[in-house]
Symmetry: C3
Subunit: 158 residues, 3 copies
Amino acid sequence: MKDKLTLIIFSDNLDRALAAFNLATGAASMGIDVSMFFTFWGLNILRKKKEISKSKNFIKRIFKKINRGGADRLKLSKFHMFGIGTFLMKNFMKELNIPSIKEMISLAKNLGINIIACNTTMEIMGLKKEDLISEVDEIAGVATYLSKAKDSRINLFI
Amino acid sequence: MKDKLTLIIFSDNLDRALAAFNLATGAASMGIDVSMFFTFWGLNILRKKKEISKSKNFIKRIFKKINRGGADRLKLSKFHMFGIGTFLMKNFMKELNIPSIKEMISLAKNLGINIIACNTTMEIMGLKKEDLISEVDEIAGVATYLSKAKDSRINLFI
Amino acid sequence: MKDKLTLIIFSDNLDRALAAFNLATGAASMGIDVSMFFTFWGLNILRKKKEISKSKNFIKRIFKKINRGGADRLKLSKFHMFGIGTFLMKNFMKELNIPSIKEMISLAKNLGINIIACNTTMEIMGLKKEDLISEVDEIAGVATYLSKAKDSRINLFI
């Protein structure tokens, strides 16, 4: 049986996203079968920078403007400091040739990593399929996650 | 062997609690054996809204007033915005007929999910059994958790 | 086969560090083989209080001064309150004879727990081997973690 890894990405912090993609791409390049399940704030990583769908609900429309998506909008969970800390971290990464989250998503895709968006979160946040980047393989729920996790040697909630 | 899932609920954020109970109730309704281990801030989810026991330690009494418990007092980890964001999130959930955390605790109970409160946390926080809601099955420590997790296919720290 | 536990310690909050070391030392004393992998902010737990190496990069030098290390500098993720909450928590722990994080590191070491520092984080943060406490067994990357996690019954991301 092939080794499997599942990751639930709950957070949209730059640091946690980095950890998740490092684990995922590292595992995939070792031949491990990887599924990444993006839920709650984590779904923001998979959103297009510019919203496509318009929610009928006025409040939801406002909330979508505040809770913005886009892989290059992620902030550090600590020392964001109005953008200075996050800017520095991105520079430290660039100097070391560590790819950005956007590049890591492409890399993940090329390595055959399964990218899943949580359907409940999409309903709560008022998001539609067209609001997500094209790298998303599947929109699915907790049952899909659990059936994958049951057969995986490593399951992490990030 | 029956599939098993254990969850450590460390946080008392509304969003993480939601993720935990979604996973737990989803798994239980698929026939998976679920244990939820509430520790540290996560224990606040299992506290009665009104404290019953009185700590002899004055400082601990103050701390219990600041670090308040109750499943309907949970806040979002992001965009709480003095209650506005959390209020909106609860409304988004209600519109979609997603149960509240309080209702999810009852649902978990009905599905036979094992609800465990961490004994070390209770000592640290100065809490007694009578401060916790009746849905709690067991007050136990790390050894109990580990013996369950050892036999589980999925173990997550939320 | 001996039971194994791996922990990724991503955070440098006092509360999460406590949870991690409680799980780790609890497991080790039950005869479980434990590996703790410290990454990102979590690496701060393994740093000497006084920096030894000097980065040539001026910005990195500043960042190291802001993002300070040392096991006794950890703060609560909630109710830090300019140090008051963290101070109180440490006192609650002392009253119950719960060891400090510094003591827990020694205890972990005595119990044979494997303490691993993430090499990518060290590069990003501009840290050298001499900046870390002597309890660190190994500086390694994601491949080392994954090969351990594949053979472990319990894997948690804290």
